[in-house]
Structure formats: C-alpha cells, structure tokens
C-alpha cells in the first residue's frame, strides 16, 4: 500500500466557501470586505509551490497521486482559522472548510482522505465540529497547526483530544499556524527563512508539552503525527528531555515512563522536509536514533517544495504500511 500522508488543498478565496456558508455569513463577508484568514506565515516563498504546480484536483492527480501510484493521500488544508478572534466566524469557517473538503475533494477522488479543520481556540466547539463530521470515515485525522497560542498538552485542550480518540482519529500537528503570538520565545524573527527553519522548535515545544502534561497518560489511545516538521532534530531533543525528566519528574507525577518512550509509541513523523545530514552514510544511524523506520511516514507535501527524499527512505513501511498501521481509519 502507498499512502501519501500530506498533500495540500488550498482555498483560492473566501468566495469559494459561499456554497458552505449560511446567508448571514455571506452578507458579512460581502459587506465587511473580510477576505478570510489570509494573514498567515506562508509568503510567496519558493518553498510554497513547485514550478508548474497548481491547486486544483486535476493538478494533484497528475502531479502527485498518479505518478506516485498512491492508494491514499491525506488532504490537509492550512486555512488559518486559528488566526480569527471572532468565535462565531471561527466556527463557521471551520465547518465550511470541512464541507468543502467533502464536496470538492473526497467526493470527487476516492483515493483521498482528509484532516478535519477545527476552531482550536475553543476546545468545546472544536469537539462539536469533530462530532459533526467524524461519521464520515474518509476523515482520518484532525488538523492542528503546530503554532498555537497555548501548548497543546495543556488540560484546556482535553475536549479536542477526547473527541479525537473517541472517533479513532489521529491528531496531525502541521507546519504553520498564525495564532497571534510570536513564533519564538524571543520575539518575531525578521525573515521567513528563520521561521521556516525555526518551525522545528514549535514541534519540540508541542511534543514536550504533550508528554509532560500527561496527555498520553490521560488518553493512552491517542496517536499524533508531526507533519512537515522534519525529524532529524528528534534524537537530541529526546535525549535532553529524558535527562531533564529524570530529575524533575516529581513535578509531573502522572508520567510513568521516559518521555522518549511516549514519543516512540504515540508519535509519527512525515519525511518532508527531512533536513538530512549532508553525508548520506549518516542516514542509517539517524533512522535508528529516531526509533527505526516505523516512526516515519512518506509524504509528498504537494505542492510545496522541499528536497527529494533519498531512496533509502522509500521503504515499503515508510511508503505505506506504517501509515496503514497508525491510522485507524486507513487500511
């Protein structure tokens, strides 16, 4: 089986969502000039789209699904509802995106699966949206932008994870997000390059939070993917977290195992971007250090451009059987 764990569907403009919004919302958009959550971190950078790519289903078929011969591809839509402060707009747009994903993508292409967009600033409302759409088993995952206004391990977010586990959905932490707080603990970087390379720190902070807050102790069936975050940073991060936890575990008494054990069991990583060492001979040891090929998932990240993954990473497990095993609703 071949599973592409990350392809992108882009909403060209807010008018695209009109068929999925009720009349008051259409009126609001038309009269306020609101363009949707376009205030996001993805500039027109060269990483945003490979040359000749496009945002239509036809492009996706011709340039990703068909050439790679995928059985399934998981569609992620990075529409930044988390950047919206109005609680009702947030909910309305999330619903509209999910309905659009069904109508324009899932219904039109049987190979596709999708991640549910939620109003993550409002965990109870997010849980209701999950409950609304989860009966459609083509939704296999939740989409949470890795950048958030509070670390996802905090108890505040439990309703989201409770709903995910109840519906056998994986939680996908995805590159990006526009929550309104700085991308780093030291303020706002000047360049997109910094934010692009620095996104790994957001993944580190989220994994750290989820582990030490006991999210996996509260929800032992929870599974998380780190999408478009790379993985070469993982070994030293886990060594350090394990080391610190040994002396400071008293503060987080619900954690019963080393942090690295929780990550090895509950978390998977897509391989784009891989941020690999320049020496290809080093790759084998890196894969061992992260816990073996079982923790890696193939993803094209179409249409974003990173690097072509080396052939050694394109094993049958990484290409599909890991995803089939990890996603309860695939395979």
């Amino acid at each position: 089986m071949i599973v592409d764990a990350d392809v992108h569907a882009v909403i060209p403009s807010i008018e695209t969502l009109f068929p999925y919004l009720t009349a008051p919302w259409i009126e609001y958009v038309e009269q306020s000039g609101f363009k949707g959550p376009v205030d996001t971190p993805y500039p027109k950078a060269p990483t945003s789209a490979r040359p000749g790519s496009g945002t239509s289903l036809q492009h996706l078929r011709e340039q990703a699904l068909d050439p790679l011969k995928v059985d399934h591809a998981i569609v992620n839509c990075s529409y930044a509802v988390e950047s919206i402060h109005n609680p009702d707009t947030d909910i309305a747009l999330a619903r509209a995106v999910n309905d659009w994903l069904v109508a324009e993508w899932l219904d039109k292409e049987p190979r596709l699966r999708a991640s549910i967009i939620v109003p993550s600033k409002q965990p109870a409302a997010a849980a209701r949206e999950i409950d609304r759409v989860a009966a459609d088993r083509r939704f296999v995952q939740l989409y949470l932008p890795v950048r958030s206004y509070l670390p996802y391990g905090k108890r505040h977010f439990h309703p989201i994870f409770e709903a995910a586990v109840r519906h056998d959905l994986v939680v996908g932490l995805h590159f990006g997000g526009a929550p309104g707080n700085p991308p780093t603990s030291v303020g706002w970087p000047s360049y997109y390059l910094e934010e692009y390379a620095g996104m790994a720190q957001a993944f580190q902070s989220q994994l750290q939070s989820m582990v030490v807050e006991g999210l996996f102790d509260r929800f032992p069936a929870l599974r998380v993917t780190c999408v478009e975050g790379g993985f070469a940073w993982l070994p030293p991060f886990l060594w350090r977290l394990d080391k610190e936890w040994k002396g400071l575990q008293r503060e987080v008494p619900w954690t019963k195992r080393l942090p690295s054990e929780y990550v090895r069991e509950h978390v998977r990583f897509t391989i784009q971007p891989a941020d690999l060492p320049p020496d290809p001979a080093r790759l084998g040891r890196l894969v061992e250090q992260v816990g073996g090929e079982e923790v890696l998932l193939f993803a094209s990240d179409y249409p974003h451009v990173h690097d072509d993954p080396p052939v050694q990473l394109l094993t049958p497990k990484i290409m599909g059987s890991n995803a089939a095993a990890f996603y309860g609703r695939i395979g």
């Binding site: 990483t47 391990g153 905090k154 390379a197 989220q206």
Partner: protein
C-alpha cells in the same frame, strides 16, 4: 563474592588541566550592591527594586536552583561565599581558572536606566569581591542588553578593567539576538576583542515557548533548547557575522546536541530561500563553525553511549567545545564524570581546558 564498582569516587583533582567556563556567583543579599550604587539608585532599590517582565515565572525545583549540598556552612546562599566556592569547586577539582557568569537580572529590567545601574554595580562587585581576591577567576561583563546604547557604555568602561573576558547576555531576549537593535553591542565587543556570551535564562517578555506559556519548570528548563536554536538561527540569518567578521559568540548552558540537526536544517533552508537573504555569502553552518563556541553543561546523554562520538563528529567543532560545571546549580556536571571516557585524550584536553584557554587568552 564482592564486586567493586569500576568507577571509583574521585577524591583527587583530575589530572588534566581544568577550566570551568560557567560558574554562578550570587549576591549574598539584595543590599550587597548598595555599596556600589550611587545614592539615587540605592534609594530606588529600596523603594522599587526589580521590575522585570512578570507573569512568566516558573518556580524552581530547589532553592536558588542549587545543588542541595552547595549551602555554605557560613549560612550564606549557594554561590555567594567565595571561601566555600574555593573549597567546594576550585580546590576540590584542581581548577586552573573559572569564568563567572552572574545571573542578576540586569538585562531584563524594564526600567532601562535601573538595569544599567545594576549592571555597573554588579561589575564593580565582581571586580572587588571576586576577581581581586581570587586570581583563578575571570568575569563576564553584565550589561543592560535591551538598551544597546547603555550596554555599549558599560562595555567601553569595563573592558579596560582587568579580568573581564566576555560580555554576558541571557538567552530569552525581547527580540531575536540577530536583530539590528543589538548590533552596536556586538560592534563594541568585537572592537575590544571580547566575545559575546549568551547564557541560559531570563524572560524576554514573551511566553517562554513559541507556542504559548507551558505549565511546568521542566518545560522551562528543557525548553531553553528552543531559545538557543531560535537565537542561533537569528544571529546567522541576519548576517551578524557577515557584518562583524571578528565577532565571537559563546553559547553557555545550552548543551550542543541540537546543533548538528540545526545546521543541516538551516543549510537546506538557505539553499531554497537564499533570495530572501542576499547579504549572506556563505552557508549558515560555515558561519556557525567559524564564529561560535559552546560549553558542555548540561552534558548530552544519548541513549546509546556511542552516539556521543557520532554527535561530536556531526558537530565537527572540536576546537570550540568548552567544559563547564554550572556550579552551584542542581544540574551541575562533575569534571570527572560528565564527559564520557570514550572521548579521545587529545580532544578531552581541548574540552577540559585548552579551547577555553585559547578563546579567553588564559
């Protein structure tokens, strides 16, 4: 049948020369600095004292973040009693030199002039009560780093005094350290042949992660790695080293295991996004290898011991790694136990003393 432990407790000083690149001298009390403060600031201290970013604090795991055996018999707080520090650290381990990094919040004061006053008083205190009585010690110039003009003035003043080997910053600053605001400080340091030294700590007015405020001290402590990574990315990407070729930057108490993957990541990002940063002429990893130094504590503890050498090989910065204990803090690294015995003798010599000797001209 008796089986002895193969590692024997060391009661002798280590045989290799030893330089400790991270020692924390602390003030015995708030009033200690009064002697070094002008009257106007003495009164300010009594009436208003410290005013830093608030609501971002994480209680420590032990008092003063110290080893519980580092309390001097004199009753003073850990790190404040020079006599006990000599006995428990310098003499106990046979140290040739130690570099002081006081963590006294000058840089994070919201009242910038007050921060400058504290910095000046701390530097005077270091000179009088640490450097003058103890020839093995060297000190770091404390500066109000969020007010670069005031910081430059203090660097210019103190660089002329004996025994100060670098300029000290803390890692969580209000802007990423590569930003233009901080450049005057870097110029001032480089012109005087002084490295900049960024040490673990502080709060810069933001949540301590880029994804909001976490709950626990373990996240504050382990999460410092993300601040170190953010700062390295900023310093390199903003072209600080391209602008100031003589600048040296020491990263203290962040470890370094995270650095090789960061170099790989930054180099690949640069390859894709170089059009955004035409002021850079070299690969990010080249700037890092040429301009940066690291201290060892808290020493990395890979799951498999052989990965320590893999990490050193990935880093390829054998001349830039410097041993540190972080005395008197709880995550202290013992000179005879922290660096794995697998490290080759020549590299061990460099780590334990020679790299620091070269950088600080000891």
């Amino acid at each position: 049948m008796t089986i002895a432990l193969p590692e024997q407790a060391s009661t002798q000083p280590v045989q290799t020369a030893l330089i400790d690149c991270d020692i924390h001298n602390s003030l015995p009390s708030e009033a200690t600095l009064d002697k070094y403060l002008p009257e106007r600031w003495r009164q300010h201290r009594e009436a208003f004292a410290s005013r830093a970013y608030h609501g971002l604090y994480y209680p420590l795991a032990s008092q003063h973040a110290a080893r519980t055996d580092a309390w001097p018999p004199s009753g003073m707080i850990p790190g404040s009693d020079l006599g006990f520090l000599r006995e428990q650290l310098l003499d106990r381990w046979g140290m040739q030199y130690g570099v002081l990094l006081p963590l006294l919040s000058a840089g994070k004061q919201l009242n910038l002039e007050w921060g400058a006053a504290i910095a000046r008083a701390v530097n005077e205190w270091q000179l009088a009560e640490w450097l003058e009585p103890e020839p093995r010690l060297r000190a770091s110039i404390v500066v109000p780093y969020e007010a670069p003009d005031l910081a430059v003035a203090e660097i210019e003043r103190v660089a002329k005094l004996p025994g100060f080997v670098q300029v000290e910053l803390e890692s969580r600053t209000h802007e990423p350290l590569g930003r233009r605001k901080y450049w005057p400080m870097y110029h001032a340091a480089a012109e005087r042949g002084l490295p900049m030294a960024m040490h673990f700590g502080a709060q810069g007015g933001w949540p301590i992660t880029g994804v909001g405020s976490p709950s626990f001290y373990v996240e504050y402590h382990a999460g410092q790695l993300t601040a170190f990574q953010d700062q390295v990315i900023s310093l390199v990407t903003e072209g600080v080293f391209e602008q100031i070729p003589d600048l040296k930057f020491v990263l203290i108490e962040g470890g370094f295991g995270w650095l090789p993957p960061l170099m790989w990541r930054l180099d690949r990002a640069y390859a894709k996004l170089k059009a955004e940063v035409p002021h850079l002429r070299r690969l990010p990893s080249e700037y890092i290898r040429e301009h940066m130094w690291f201290t060892t504590q808290p020493v990395e503890e890979p799951h498999e011991p052989r990965d320590f050498q893999v990490m050193l090989d990935d880093l390829a910065m054998d001349d830039r790694i410097m041993f540190s204990t972080d005395y008197p803090h709880w995550d202290f690294d013992a000179p005879d136990a922290a660096i794995p015995t697998s490290v080759a003798p020549e590299l061990r010599r460099k780590i334990m003393a020679e790299n620091a000797r070269a950088l600080y001209r000891l």
